[in-house]
Structures are given as C-alpha cells and as structure tokens.
C-alpha cells in the first residue's frame, strides 16, 4: 500500500465521527476541548494529506471501504474541492481552538465534531445523490444546537423543510423542472432573499460557533457548482440564481448597515457575501467564475475571522448590541485590530485576499451586464460601511472599565492570527489563490460543456 492508496478522506470523515462518540462520554469541558483539538487537528492533517495525494497523482484511486461497500467512489477530490476540504477542516479546528473557557461548558464539542464530519464529507462529495444526502444530514447539527439551547426552531424547520422538498424534487424530476427545483434548493440553502431569514434566526438563537460553521462556508455555492452548473441547466436558471443573488447581496448589505445587534450584523454580512459569490454563477465565464471562486475562498476565511473575533468578545461581554458606543478598544486592542482587518478583508480591501477576487468578479460582471457590475460595487460599498460602523460602535466610546484582564488569550490569538495570515498572504501573493481557482473554474466549465454536449446529442 502506497501513500496514494490510503483513503485519507474516509479517515478524515471517520475520525471526527469517532471523536464525537468518545467526547460525548467525557463530562469535563476542558478535557473534552483538549481532545477535540487533537481530533480536529488530526482531521485537518488527514485532509491535507488527501490534497497532497491528489496533487501528486489526480488519477490515483485509494483503497476505500466505502467504495467497496457502495460499489462506486463516494468521497473524492478534484480541482474544485481539493483545497476546500482542508479549508473546512481548518475552520473546525480554529473554531474549537478559539472557544473561550467560559463558553466550553455551553458549546457542544460532540456536535462540533459531528458537524465537521458531515461538512468535510459534503465538500468531498461529487456525485449529486450523495451530495444531496449529505446536504440534508448537514441540517441536523444546527437543529440539535437550537433544541439543546431551548430556542424556537420554527424558522429553521420551515426553511430547511422547504430545502429538503426542493432538493428531493430536483433529484426525482427531470429536465427543466429538475433544474428549477434544484435552483430553488440552492437559493434556500445559500440564504437568498426572501428565503434568508433562517440565517438571521440561526445567528440569533444558536451558538455563534455552530452558526458560523453552518453558514460561513457558503455550502449553497458548492451545491450550485455540483448540482446546477454541470447539469446542462438552461441559461435562465443560472441567470435566475445570479439575479436573485445580486438582489440579496445589496439587500443584505443594506440590512447589515442598520442592524442594532452584532450577531444580526454578522448574519447579514454573511448573507450579502454569499449573494456576491453566487453572482459569478450567472455569468459562467471563466474570468467571472474564477473571481467568484476566489471570492468564495477569501470571504469564508474573512467571515470566520470576523465571527471568531465577535465570539471571543461575546465570551467576555455577553451579547453585543450595536445601539451604543461600547468603548472596548482599551480592553482589548488586538480584538479591535483583528476585527477591522478581517472585516475589511470581506469587502476586498487592498492588501487582503479579497481585493483581486472582487475586481475579477466585477470585471466579469461588467462584461455580461454593466448594471450587474454597478450593483456589485454598491453591495461592496455598503458592506464596507457596515463593517466600519460596527467597528466604531464596538470599539470606540467611553472606555470599558473592568477589574479583570479581558485581553485576547493565546488560543484565541493563534486562531485569529492563522486566519489573518491567510488573508494577508492572499493579498500580497494573489497569484497562488487565483491560479488555483482559475483551474477549478476551467474544470467546472469543462464539466458543463461536456454535459451540454451530451444533452445536445
């Protein structure tokens, strides 16, 4: 057995599942947190190994128990998902790492690991049926979180029920109807207006860590790329996704500006960026798709940075309304700096990984329709205003006085520094990200062209 034949992906999914079972039996939150670090770090290493194996020989077929069981490969990497899978594993590791001690008792490590297994499997999945099953399984961890916190689940169940119905309908139906139903499912999952309120509700009621990991990776984009784009869908389906996403991007950016609660602000920031990323779908040219894929990678990291910073602040100051200036700068300047850096990275500030991604996206959008380009610029401008407004409200104002040190801890620091490093490296050496995503865009479009050709025959 060579390194290339090791089923890294299966191991990366199995390990957190095993970890979820083991940790479920540990009562001490600090011990379970330490164990979760070991599990998520090893999972991340396994995903990296899978990526490395794919880079060495993309055609290598590992010896997989799952393949033997089902009769075909279930988890596999290609140009699109090869870097995404380790990325998702890293986000889970950093979320666990950035969990403050005060929150360890309330944040379920078992659910973190369960979610990690499902999400890694989702992003490592290529076949539509498998992907649909995993997308439906992905609904469970946030639901369990809401139930555990005794929060209302009506909004979540309504939207996820709709998502499941549309997804199954899309699988069962054929032709244009299937494409339309799939489009509907993708729009619900990515939080497109007016079916976006479940994201706002989730951020308000679930734990911030669970909400972030459920929504920030923008699973809807992955579903769109796997289920809608290559399926020879008519152009109007892609245009429909693009236009709905464009409206969402502007609407959610405007909503983010007027929010009086930091969690809702974050929710709308995520929704708006999900919309911006999905706009690239409409254009399906290699440049716009490269822009969309690059922006996707960039905003996931940046949004996680903003989210983890807010989560870290909440661990100290409880929920943070944006109704008055809170003066937190003096309590923890590092939080302020990281919040601003990651927040500005989401809007493509120069020197951050999103700068050229936004440029590419707008360039592609202008080629297709100048108004789309203008709309994208408006959305990014509004998001920029929302981020700086939140920064000013949280960190300026009468100094917050506390008898205990409230500065950032080493674990939290490492988590946000890793994300910041990605943001800055992506900003100063953009070719690495853009090249990688360009090949992914070509791969996706080649699949679509092949599908179109089959359809025509």
């Amino acid at each position: 057995m060579t390194l290339l034949s090791v089923p890294w992906l299966e191991l990366a999914v199995a390990l957190p599942l095993f970890g979820a079972i083991v940790i479920g039996r540990i009562r001490d939150p600090i011990i379970s947190s330490n164990w979760s670090m070991a599990f998520t770090a090893t999972t991340f290493a396994l995903c990296l190994a899978a990526w490395a194996a794919f880079s060495i020989d993309p055609t290598a077929v590992p010896v997989s128990g799952l393949t033997l069981l089902i009769g075909r490969p279930v988890l596999m990497l290609d140009q699109l998902n090869a870097p995404l899978v380790p990325g998702i594993a890293l986000l889970h590791f950093l979320t666990g790492l950035g969990t403050a001690r005060t929150k360890m008792a309330r944040f379920s490590i078992s659910r973190l690991l369960l979610g990690a297994a499902i999400r890694i499997a989702t992003f490592a999945c290529v076949e539509p049926i498998d992907l649909c099953v995993l997308l439906m399984l992905g609904i469970i961890p946030p639901y369990l979180d809401l139930r555990a916190r005794k929060k209302p689940t009506g909004v979540y169940l309504f939207h996820m029920g709709l998502f499941v119905v549309l997804l199954i309908g899309g699988l069962v139906a054929s032709g244009t109807l299937a494409a339309t139903l799939m489009m509907g499912a993708v729009l619900v999952r990515s939080g497109t207006v007016p079916l976006h309120v479940w994201i706002r509700d989730l951020f308000e009621n679930a734990s911030l860590g669970t909400s972030l990991l459920t929504v920030a990776p923008i699973v809807g984009m992955y579903a769109a790329l796997r289920l809608v784009l290559p399926a020879a869908s008519p152009d109007w389906v892609l245009q429909g996704i693009g236009m709905a996403s464009l409206v969402t991007a502007i609407y959610a950016a405007g909503m983010a500006v007027v929010q009086n609660d930091s969690r809702r602000f974050l929710a709308y920031l995520v929704i708006s960026h999900a919309g911006l990323v999905m706009v690239g779908m409409e254009l399906h040219t290699v440049i716009s798709l490269t822009g969309a894929l690059s922006l996707w990678a960039s905003v996931v990291i940046s949004l996680m940075g903003v989210g983890l910073t807010l989560r870290s602040l909440e661990a100290r100051f409880d929920r943070l309304p944006l109704t008055e200036f809170r003066g937190l700068y003096s309590a923890s300047p590092v939080h302020a700096i990281i919040f601003l850096l990651t927040g500005l990275a989401t809007v493509g500030f120069p020197g951050t990984s999103g700068f050229l991604a936004i440029e590419l996206l707008i360039d592609g959008a202008l080629s297709a329709n100048p108004l789309v380009g203008v709309a994208v610029v408006i959305a990014t401008a509004l998001n920029g205003v929302a981020v700086v407004r939140a920064y000013f409200v949280l960190f300026t104002g009468t100094r917050h006085v506390s008898g205990v040190p409230l500065g950032i801890t080493i674990r939290e620091r490492v988590a946000v520094y890793i994300l910041s490093a990605f943001i800055l490296i992506g900003g100063f050496f953009p070719q690495i990200l853009i090249d990688n995503r360009y090949h992914a865009a070509e791969h996706v479009l080649a699949q679509r062209n092949a599908s179109d050709a089959n359809h025509t025959e």
Binding site: P152, T153, G154, V155, V197, D201, Y251, G254, M255, V257, V258, Q259, T285, V286, I287, T290, F325, G327, S330, P333, I337, I338, L344, F349, P350, G351, L356, E359, L360, I362, D363, L366, S367, P370, G373, V374, V377, I378, T380, A381, G384, V385, V388, R389, F392, V393, T396, G397, T398, R399, G407, I408, R413, Y417, S420, F429, P430, Q431, I434, E442
Partner: protein, 456 residues
C-alpha cells in the same frame, strides 16, 4: 559603466517599499499585542521616511542626469489569466507598476517631506498620548497610500493607494476613541470615501472592460505627462472621466461632498495638518491632473471640472469666512484653493500650460497649509497674549457676508453657518431614506420570524 536607468529603478523601488516596511515595523508588533516604544517608533519612522525621501531625490537626480522623464518601476504581473480555449477573447492581468514622471515626483517628494516634518512634530505633540503607537501606525498607512496613489501606473494600483489613504483618514478622525463624536464623524468621512472609492472602482473596472487592462498607457498615452494622448474615444473618455471626477470630488471634499471636511478636524492636529490641509485633500486634484489626456479629449468633461471647481471655491470661501475655530477656517481656506486648482485643471483643456500652474499651485497650497495648521495652536496663544497685553480685541476686517446687502445678509449667514446645508441635504435626502427603508424591512422580517417561531 553604471546603468543609470537600472539605478533609478532600484532607487524607485526603495522609495516605494520604504513606507510599507514602516507599516510592517509599526503594525506587526501592535498586531501581536506588543507595540514599539515611543523611542523606537520615532527612530524607525525617521529612518524609513528619510530613506524614502533620499531615494526619491536620487530618482529625480538620475532623471535629470539621463534626460529620462518616465521611469517605470514594475513589480511584475501579480495575476494573469489567459483562458486556454483559443476562441476565447477573455483575458485579465493585474500588474503592480509605478511611474516616476513630472507629475508624480513632485507629489511623492511633497508626501515624504511633509510626512517627515509632521512625524517629527507629532513625536512631541503626541508624547504620552494613549494612542501614540496607533497614531503612527495609521500615519504610516497613510504615507504608504499616498506614495502608492502618487506613483501608480495602473488604475488598480491607484485604487489600492486611494483606499489606504481613505481608511487611515477615517480612523484618524476617530482617533480619540473614548468619545463618541469623533467616531460619528469618522464614520461620516468613511461613508463619503466609500462613495468616492466606488466611483474609482467603477472607473477602474470600466477601463479594464473597455481596454482589457488597467494600465494607464492606454488611457493616458505613453508620452510623458502632460503630453499624453488617450487611445479612448471622446465618449469613453467622458464616461471614465466623470467617474474619476466623482472619485476626486469625494476625496478632495468638492461640492457636494464638502461637509465632511470640518468633521475631519476631530482628529489630532498633526493628522489634520497632513491630511486635510496638505495631502489628502489634494489627492483628488492630483487624480484630475493625472487624467489630463482625458480632459484634453473631452470638452464636456473639462466643462464639468471647471464648474465643479468654481462652485467649490465660491462655496468654501463663503463658508470659511464664518468659521469660529481655526482648524475649520484653515480647512475651508485650503478647500477654496483646491477649488481653484480644479478649475485650472479643467481650463487646461483649452490652455494646457495651466496644468503646470495647477501643479505648482497644489504644491504651494499644501506647504502653506501645513505650516498654518502646525502653527495654529501656538498662533492662538500668541493672539491671546497680544490681546491681553493690549487690553482689547485685535481688529478683524469684515468678511463678505458682513458687507452683503442687508436683505441677503441673514440668509447668507445662515447658509454659511449651516455649511450650505450640504450635510443636511445628504443626510435627509440620501442617507435617511435608505436607512428608513431598510429599518422597515427589518421590522417586517422580525414579524415574519416571530410568526414562524410562534408554533415551535
């Protein structure tokens, strides 16, 4: 034999990199929670600003020695996309490129000189301020932005510098973090800058779309400034020019964006001096000078620029005469001159020599205002001492409002005191409707969420 062109490129690279090294030296220790001491901050700032200044002087000397008026420093193609399909015409490339020419060298020299002076001034002025390190980090970001924007040879590079200047300005307006008022004003400045940035970004992307690349060569020609000839048609020049004019209006506080200028005075005096008296407020005018080939190509663009410049000059003169604090009065005096500079740039369509006049006017105004700003606190003290010694107020000549006809006087006073109602107009007719609509949607969503959650 030494290759002087290569030497100029090396010196140019040093000039461009030195502010970024300064940002890294000051910013990274802050990021890890261990900011440099005051002494170390001063030393690093002094060293790197001097290094940058010397490097630019060396480039200037080499340009004069070789007769080359167009030194290009390129950091290569950072991103290049050429689809493999032969039938596809799509391509994209992003180059980080800088140019030293007759226009950029004076401005970058001015930037290094004034930032060096203000840095030295601020070491004493800001001594033991709680945000000493933060001030210098933002100051270094501002310098990096100014150098980048001044020397940019592609519109994307210009945009990057432009954004850095905007962010550092807004954060320095809100420098005194323990008060809410500077934060509110900082946010207002940021909003105006975002409008300006959006216009510049649209111009950048429109240019990219029209020409396939963002290099200035196509837009402004390869000839040294101001003799460039654009490859764009008159209408293309007008569209891109108007977008750039909007960007310039936001950055230089031209009408109708002038309201942010007095708000920006909330920041510490050294930053007010360098940003709103000297450099930042002239960046819009510099951009218009840079796009002079577009102005030459489009008469309508030139007319729009002249009108905007004259309107701003008249507005700022009138408002400036009723200001009761010295920093606001100086900022409006500076804006009056900026308006005239902008009008001169527009008139350059008919008399190209005026572009040189505008450049000299810009440099002179920046230097004079910096001096006035840093002298302002001690000047007030001198005035008070003088008036105390005399036992009476010093005579003040009446302004234009005082000598206006009686029927007009009170209206003019109100108009000037309310700063032309520009802020109120923007707030009431632009910001408030947007906020009201989104708050209404927010309430609607709350009701919908409550309805769906009621049964669970």
């Amino acid at each position: 034999m030494i290759d002087l062109t290569l030497l100029a490129s090396i010196c140019g690279t040093v000039a461009i990199i030195s502010p970024y090294v300064l940002v890294a030296f000051l910013g990274l220790p802050s990021l890890v929670g261990h900011p440099l001491t005051e002494r170390a901050t001063n030393r690093v700032s002094r060293l790197l600003i001097t290094l940058g200044l010397v490097a630019v002087l060396a480039v200037l000397g080499l340009m004069l020695a070789t007769g080359d008026r167009h030194v290009v420093v390129t950091f290569g193609e950072r991103v290049s996309i050429h689809p493999h399909e032969s039938h596809s015409l799509e391509h994209y490339h992003f180059t980080v490129e800088f140019e030293f020419d007759r226009l950029s060298v004076p401005l970058v020299l001015l930037s290094f000189t004034l930032c060096g002076i203000i840095s030295a001034f601020a070491t004493r002025y800001m001594h033991r301020e709680p945000g000493y390190n933060r001030f210098f980090v933002l100051f270094s970001i501002f310098l990096a932005g100014m150098v980048t924007a001044s020397l940019a040879n592609t519109i994307e590079t210009l945009f990057a510098g432009w954004e850095l200047v905007g962010l550092s300005s807004a954060l320095l307006v809100a420098f005194f973090v323990e008060r809410a008022s500077p934060a509110r004003n900082g946010l207002w400045v940021w909003i105006v800058y975002r409008v300006s940035d959006a216009a510049l970004l649209l111009a950048a992307v429109t240019l990219h779309h029209m020409t396939g690349e963002g290099d200035f060569d196509l837009m402004l020609g390869t000839e040294p400034w101001p003799y460039g000839r654009t490859a764009l048609s008159e209408w293309q020049a007008l569209v891109i020019g108007l977008l750039l004019l909007m960007a310039a209006a936001g950055k230089s506080a031209l009408v109708p964006f002038s309201g942010w200028l007095p708000r920006a005075m909330e920041g510490p005096t050294p930053s007010s001096a360098i940003f709103y008296g000297a450099l930042s407020v002239h960046l819009g005018a510099f951009l218009l000078l840079r796009i002079s080939p577009l102005i030459a190509a489009s008469m309508w663009l030139a007319i729009a620029i002249v009108i905007l410049g004259l309107l701003t000059a008249a507005y700022a003169y009138l408002i400036g005469t009723v200001q009761t604090d010295i920093k606001s009065a100086l900022s409006f005096a500076s804006l009056t001159q900026v308006g005239i500079i902008v009008a001169e740039i527009g008139l350059g369509h008919w008399v190209p020599f005026l572009w040189y006049v505008a450049l000299v006017h810009l440099l002179g105004n920046a230097l004079l205002r910096t001096l006035q700003f840093v002298r302002a606190p001690s000047l007030l003290r001198d005035y008070h001492e003088l008036e105390n010694a005399l036992g009476e107020r010093l005579p003040r000549p009446p302004g234009p409002v005082a000598i206006a006809p009686l029927a007009l006087r009170s209206w003019l006073y109100r108009f000037a005191l309310e700063r032309g109602y520009l802020d109120a107009w923007l707030r009431d007719y632009l910001v408030r409707p947007v906020v009201t609509v989104f708050r209404w949607f927010d309430r609607l969503e709350q009701r919908w969420v409550a309805f769906l959650n009621r049964r669970h």
